[in-house]
């Protein structure tokens, strides 16, 4: 089955003021697969992830050269409607932070932002999203209660439900399990595998074993450069670049 590229970067450079965080990144991310970004701290993997949905814009003084496209559309086009882009490319962050509202309102926030106000439609969306995030059974009787009362793992699944509620095409996960206990992590890994059929998932992780377990493709970043990218199995058993080998075997980083 031929792979279809959904995100493509060509000679992408990203600058925080004068300091260059990404150097000439050229990469193709396939649709309906899980792609993992790995690399030591400060290598640029999170910067690249955040560049995809333009969350890097939140930091003042950033600028970008080169091309980064989503389905052929240039992401850094100044005429692009960023809010529409972020509807199609969702994000789950490292620390689970639901809004200080009820569980229902948390999940409905996205749809309401994009104009869905009909009660029936929202009810349906909220249930669908909570089911997709494998948390419906745990919260169905307490939708009106505050989301702050959930455990860490539940909050993170709620954040995933919240991201799914706007029906994105791509889901970006920025170290989404690093703040969680092993059981919650395992649940979210299962969830990620099941979401692959409908969504494209790009995840940043520090955990080599996690990348090996659940990703189809892995990209190794080092000091702002993309060193190597390939099928996960191949990269983990026989990396082409010595730097990759040294990193994944834990000899540095």
């Amino acid at each position: 089955m031929a792979e279809k590229t959904i995100l493509k970067a060509e000679n992408l450079n990203f600058y925080y003021g004068a300091s260059q965080a990404l150097k000439n990144i050229t990469i193709r991310i396939p649709a309906n697969q899980v792609t993992a970004f790995v690399g030591p701290s400060g290598c640029g993997k999170s910067t690249f992830l955040r560049a995809i949905n333009r969350m890097g814009d939140l930091v003042p003084g950033t600028h970008v050269t080169g091309s980064l496209t989503f389905r052929g559309q240039e992401i850094y086009d100044p005429r692009l409607d960023v809010t529409a882009l972020r509807r199609r490319i969702g994000m789950v962050f490292q620390k689970p932070t639901p809004f200080p509202m009820s569980i229902y309102d948390n999940v409905a926030y996205g749809p309401r932002t994009h104009g869905k106000h009909s009660r029936a439609r929202l009810d349906e969306l909220v249930e669908q999203s909570l089911r997709a995030a494998a948390i419906w059974d745990e919260v169905k009787d307490r939708l009106r209660k505050s989301a702050m009362g959930l455990s860490g793992g539940q909050q993170q699944r709620l954040c995933i439900a919240r991201a799914l509620a706007v029906k994105p095409e791509v889901l970006l996960m920025d170290e989404a399990t690093s703040a969680l206990d092993p059981i919650s992590t395992a649940r979210i890994e299962e969830l990620t595998l099941s979401l692959r059929e409908q969504y494209t998932i790009v995840m940043v992780t520090h955990n080599m074993q996690q990348a090996a377990r659940i990703s189809d493709k892995t990209a190794f970043f080092l000091m702002g450069e993309l060193v190597e990218m390939g099928d996960t199995e191949g990269l983990f058993s026989m990396p082409r670049d010595k730097r990759t080998e040294d990193y994944i075997t834990g000899r540095f980083g």
Binding site: N53, M55, R86, T97, Y109, G110, T113, H114, R162, A163
Partner: protein
């Protein structure tokens, strides 16, 4: 063995001494406060009666009353806050959420800090010149409120900014990540979280307004007569003293210390009330 025992004894004496000093300071503060409050209450309460609180002064009828004072105080408090709040909160939101130019933000914050520290007598003079003379408002409560609005602006801006800064960055990122626009994000996620802090700042500002005397003396006048608030013109031309100014008038101009202490007691009660309200608002903030 003897040396060890004397060391421990010395250390114990040292600790005891330090504790005693600290205790004494606390005691002194409490004693001072207690003295002040008791003195004012004792000398003030006899003067307070329902007639006093709801009546006006009249030489003809031989009554004494501070209703004008109370009404004027309310007028000034409401008007100055009505101006300062939207301006202050708006400015704070701009500074915290929208402004990209770091240097501009620092400049404005610096200016705010300075403004917050300027003695009120300077505001009084500036207000008098600007509003009463140049803008021809004359000595009115309107001029006084405008001056007070400027004076409390820094407090409100600072309190709002602090409150906005305590809202976790992750709320903003979460909302923006879902495709929310900036204003919607502020309106639906940031402001609701910050509202308790803003309220606390607001009440603090109200306290400052109520307690201000120098500014109003210069800009609003000393009249103790009940003003006409029934027309717009009346509202604009009203001139008179608030409670604090009335206190000055009773004490300094008329040497009517009984009345002065009575007004002082009322002001004290008002101050305590406002403080409780501010405390309650911050407690609600803590709980979250």
């Amino acid at each position: 063995m003897g040396r060890r025992r004397s060391l421990t004894l010395r250390r114990r004496l040292y600790h005891a001494g330090a504790s005693a000093l600290v205790w004494l300071s606390a005691l002194l503060c409490c004693a001072l406060l207690l003295f002040l409050v008791c003195y004012i209450c004792i000398r003030g309460f006899p003067g307070i009666s329902w007639a006093f609180l709801t009546g006006t002064e009249s030489i003809l009828q031989g009554t004494a009353g501070i209703l004008p004072g109370i009404v004027n105080t309310l007028y000034v408090m409401v008007l100055s806050l009505a101006i300062a709040l939207p301006l202050g909160v708006g400015a704070a939101i701009y500074l915290t959420e929208y402004a990209r130019n770091r240097r501009l933000v620092h400049l404005v914050e610096f200016a705010t800090e300075i403004l917050a520290g300027i003695p009120s007598i300077i505001y009084a003079l500036a207000g008098m010149i600007l509003f009463c003379t140049v803008l021809r408002l004359q000595k009115t409560l309107l001029a006084g409120s405008l001056t007070l609005a400027i004076m409390t602006l820094p407090t409100i801006i600072r309190a709002t900014q602090e409150s906005l800064k305590t809202v976790p960055r992750s709320y903003r990122e979460g909302a923006l990540g879902l495709g929310s626009g900036q204003w919607r994000m502020i309106r639906t996620v940031v402001l609701p979280s910050a509202v308790d802090g803003i309220t606390a700042g607001c009440i603090l500002a109200a306290g400052r307004v109520v307690g201000e005397s120098a500014v109003l003396m210069y800009t609003a006048g000393l009249s103790m007569v009940m003003q006409d608030f029934s027309t717009i013109e009346g509202l604009m031309k009203a001139s008179g003293s608030t409670l604090t100014v009335a206190l000055y008038v009773y004490a300094k101009e008329r040497a009517d210390f009984a009345a002065a202490f009575a007004v002082a007691a009322v002001l004290l009660a008002l101050a305590v009330l406002l403080n409780f309200a501010a405390g309650a608002a911050s407690k609600k903030l803590q709980k979250k």
